[in-house]
Amino acid sequence: MSQSLSLSPRAAPLPLDELEAPPLSLRTLTWRRFRRHKMALGGIVVLVLLFVYAFGGSLFYSEAYANFTETGVRLQAPSAVHPFGTDTIGRDIFARTIFGGQISLIIGLTAVVLETIVGILIGAAAGYYGGRLDSLLMRFTEAVFTIPQIFLLLVMAKYFSGRVPNITLYNRTYSGSVVVIIVIIGLTSWPYLARIVRAEFLSIKENEFILAARATGASSSQIIFGHILPNSVAPIVVSATLGVANAILSEAYISFLGLGVQPPTATWGNMLEGAYNYIATAPWLWVFPGTLIVLTVLSTNFVGDGLRDALDPRSRTI
């Protein structure tokens, strides 16, 4: 038994009852359990397809075409030339859903990155240090959490409206409101994650290996980022995945209400703005962007659900 540790595997064959498979890493374990959920796998496939649609589609259409208004062909039903029809000022909806998809997906992912960073920092500080800092941060978190997110979003969108200039990146011009939306969605969704992170930190902090780390002289940030955080990855991952769905929905809501991303930059949300005025005559205005939003959010929810089941620490079976 203790001998086999120092011998190379070839030197002496291990007795049968000592053979064991190498311990599975968290990633492998999670993936194996994730595979069992057919819906979650389907969700991943749909998400990949949507990404290919949004980012690969830009190889076929240029953005200028998506923003090209030709009022002579406004409000045309889906046809061979315009597969999804045209909108109220003659822009091709198919091309707009492609570029709108890029913006919507980028907003969703970036907002979640921002939200995760802020949530982890605040939750870790509150959970690790405790005491006064904890109470203060939790009061603040509760204040942000109490207000319904959409009110905060609307007020902050109005605050920043017209103040952020357009950005030019990689030869494409983005309306400044894209950054505004990313920042405000990130800044209003972190309380949920901060609370989860704080709870994890409070429970992991009591373990002995933390005491050992502190005894060997690890600094606070080393303990936080090197020891406690890697052990609390599971609920963070689940929360981040579900946060993507929430971010895409939030962006759709405020763009729909007119305070989100400003035209001509297309997003799935602002393509729906004003579509209810044409509901009887031009249903293609809202069907296509709306269905794409539903598909994205649905598959993200499936993936998040599957991840939650796969990362559940209480069930140890594969």
Binding site: A143, T146, I150, V155, R163, Y253, L257, I279
Partner: protein, 344 residues
Amino acid sequence: MIRYITRRILQAIPLLFIISVVFFVLLRNMGDPLATMGGRSMTRASDRERLARQLGLDKPILLQYVYWLIGNDWAKVDLDGDGVAESSGTRQGVLRGDFGTSLVNRGVPVVQVIWDRLPNTLILMVPSEILIILLSLIVGVYSALRQYSLLDNAVTTLSFVGYSMPIFFIALLSMYIFAVNFKRWGLPYLPTVGMFDPQVGKTFSQVALHMVLPVFSLSFISLAGYSRYIRGTMLEVLSQDYIRTAKAKGLPRRDIVLVHALKNASLPIVTVVGLDLPTLLAGAIVTERIFAWPGMGRLFLDHLSRGDAPVVMGILMMVSFAVVAFQLITDVTYAWLDPRIRYE
């Protein structure tokens, strides 16, 4: 329990203060309400100064917040521009119930502006909430009793899909199916705009008819979410030992399900429902916009886009207060319903 409630109320007060400060600062850059006050033409510079003085917009922000909170009838205001403050202010401040006057509807007190529209939103929200609770209980229980049957699978899938839909998609879809297409196919169709038909007048049946689609849109998402949740808790409860005892005792099925299982399974829904008020309010904003329902959500949007800070602050503070109050009520109700919980 009384001490717990008192402590919660005392905790809620600084919370509301923080929220009011945050919003007050955010609402500074709301656009220029003075720009539209000149009617069709731009306000003259001298008029703009005078209006700024009268409305108190020329003071530093901290002073403006203090005036908003405690009023300025204890301070002097300089109304005629000579640099000397002589007349006393007229506002009593939020703490005494005066939210100021609206900048868009000139001179109308904010409380009245909100009060005119609040009942309309409540007409939408209260039936939605009742519908959500009742239907989700029915669907959730039925789904749990017939687990893995066709109905259960259909309900679960539909719930998942419904839960992922944005509310405007459901609203547009229901509008399209029940109003536009029904009309095309000659079936009796539901109206989609406003609260009542102006030619018929504001009768009960008119309002009820116009209410169907908005209430449906508002409740669908929460219904989908909660029926899944109830199904989950119901399944958990049904596998408990005391249910097995009840079955062994020979109680009729109905009693087991309705009396023993349901009471325990529906306890978590009290917390969820109580805390779902913000979602309903948010949904109300979008739904009222789509269906042109004259409620508080539309009021908020209209006045926000026109830079009317007093009304927007009034609505926001009211909403925050309602959320905090509902959280407290939910916790107390939960403790009252569940004898295992005791707050000290």
